[in-house]
Symmetry: C2
Subunit: 313 residues, 2 copies
Amino acid sequence: MHTMIIGGAGMLGQKLAASLAGDTLTLVDVVEPPPFPNATTLAADLTDPATATALIARRPDVIFHLAAIVSGEAEADFSRGYAVNLDATRMLFDAIRHAGEHDGPYKPRVVFASSIAVFGAPFPARIPDDFHTTPRTSYGTQKAATELLLSDYSRRGIFDGIALRLPTICIRPGKPNRAASGFFSNILREPLAGLPAILPVPDTTRHWFTSPRTATGFFRHAATLDLALLGDNRALNMPGLSATVAEQIEALRSVAGQAAVDLIRREPDPTIAAIVVNWAQDFDTPRAHALGFRAERTFDEIIAVHLLDETGA
Amino acid sequence: MHTMIIGGAGMLGQKLAASLAGDTLTLVDVVEPPPFPNATTLAADLTDPATATALIARRPDVIFHLAAIVSGEAEADFSRGYAVNLDATRMLFDAIRHAGEHDGPYKPRVVFASSIAVFGAPFPARIPDDFHTTPRTSYGTQKAATELLLSDYSRRGIFDGIALRLPTICIRPGKPNRAASGFFSNILREPLAGLPAILPVPDTTRHWFTSPRTATGFFRHAATLDLALLGDNRALNMPGLSATVAEQIEALRSVAGQAAVDLIRREPDPTIAAIVVNWAQDFDTPRAHALGFRAERTFDEIIAVHLLDETGA
């Protein structure tokens, strides 16, 4: 089995690679991914039309496509967001099409990292599986348009694709970053390490989460699932945990005590609050559930996964 | 007011042009549209990157974009469908963006002809305004992806856009064609003219309709509406009439008598029946209704409009 991970230098790409020990791996990213056993690592510019052709010439059986310009950057740089998130992905899809047409039968599995950013307010209390995609960002637009192409190319038999609409990943390892969603991880990760963290939104803020380990599992499960079960709609809302900031903090308290909670400083930021108020809060995901996808049920679990995977505790 | 109609040689484009007598018109199509008073007529290849730039250099205030490769052809010719329906439209959108960036303020109104083909089965009994877009054809995929871009470009202030998801147009004037939906018009238009027609599906088949006159009115209304009322989701399900074939035939009987009905020959076609069973049957359209869009309420009205507009009766 030859597995290619595009976006292989990123946090999820690295975790996914680490979990696929038995496979022959090709890890691709804009910077060369760190070396891995059984892995070829490549630096590649996905916006160069020659890149997709060269990658597909390696004939991977499974392609995980995780590479993207993140939400904030896609909003700040219109052209670059469309070039990487929409056009480069389409070039990849078309390279698969051309390979199948010109070089004999080829129909890889394509697992695409989509996002709940395809959805936009106003929302029902729980977002159903058949809720419309009305993104409020260029990033969400690019993900939603790519999902449509992925379903059509799959229906056409060009590849066997699935798009996973991932919840916000929490607890994200590493340093605090300036992503608008960063605080959801910061207020747990930093206090767990004895460091201060800033909370820019009210404690009542509700959002939709899964751990890095579970998200990695979603990708592996999607790579082996019988995708005919999805029919022609290959975009799937992943399960997650709906929780408020207050519930996050209670979980922190139960794991690490009041001293950890006291490291959170409330510093309301109207700009971040105005962004977050338009984010999805809760989903009903019977379709993914029936296909065997499972997420955490409590924030205590999410914290436990973080301590185990990131600190070895 | 300078109004450009792309797809100006088509049935709806011609009717729209005829209804815009006061405007300065530019009619564009792949074949040169027939001459019109106050109108410039242009033949243009929309897939040529220079075309969009040249059209936008004329700085139309309102752009009606009706040009498309139709459903059957987009399914038969993958590359051409994507090139015209998705890529050429995006080139038009980007030409507007570049004109605004390089040649001073420019923010035209863009009215885009979308379709209920953005929706795919399984459907609820009545499709709500927030139902997801899961097209079952490449044509529907191209329309749905374009809608997403149109909403994002509008949110960004590049133009002021709206996408109208049109019902099936009935009664379509002209000769019978081989479109899978053609029979809905054929079984009325032909008997009204004393000619035979073939009905390939059961009388219980239900679908969603509007007349050419009403569809033309939708476009004109969309050109003057305050689009801020739509928020960031610029795709709008148009109102229509949900009717069965039996209801169509009853209306034909009441207008033209049993002799006309007797001209319909039932000739079941499993291929057409299999396509039509996946089409939308009924919608609930409160959003369009609140914005002032109105459709016919009976098939008698649709037939009366046809007789008045096409035969002068």
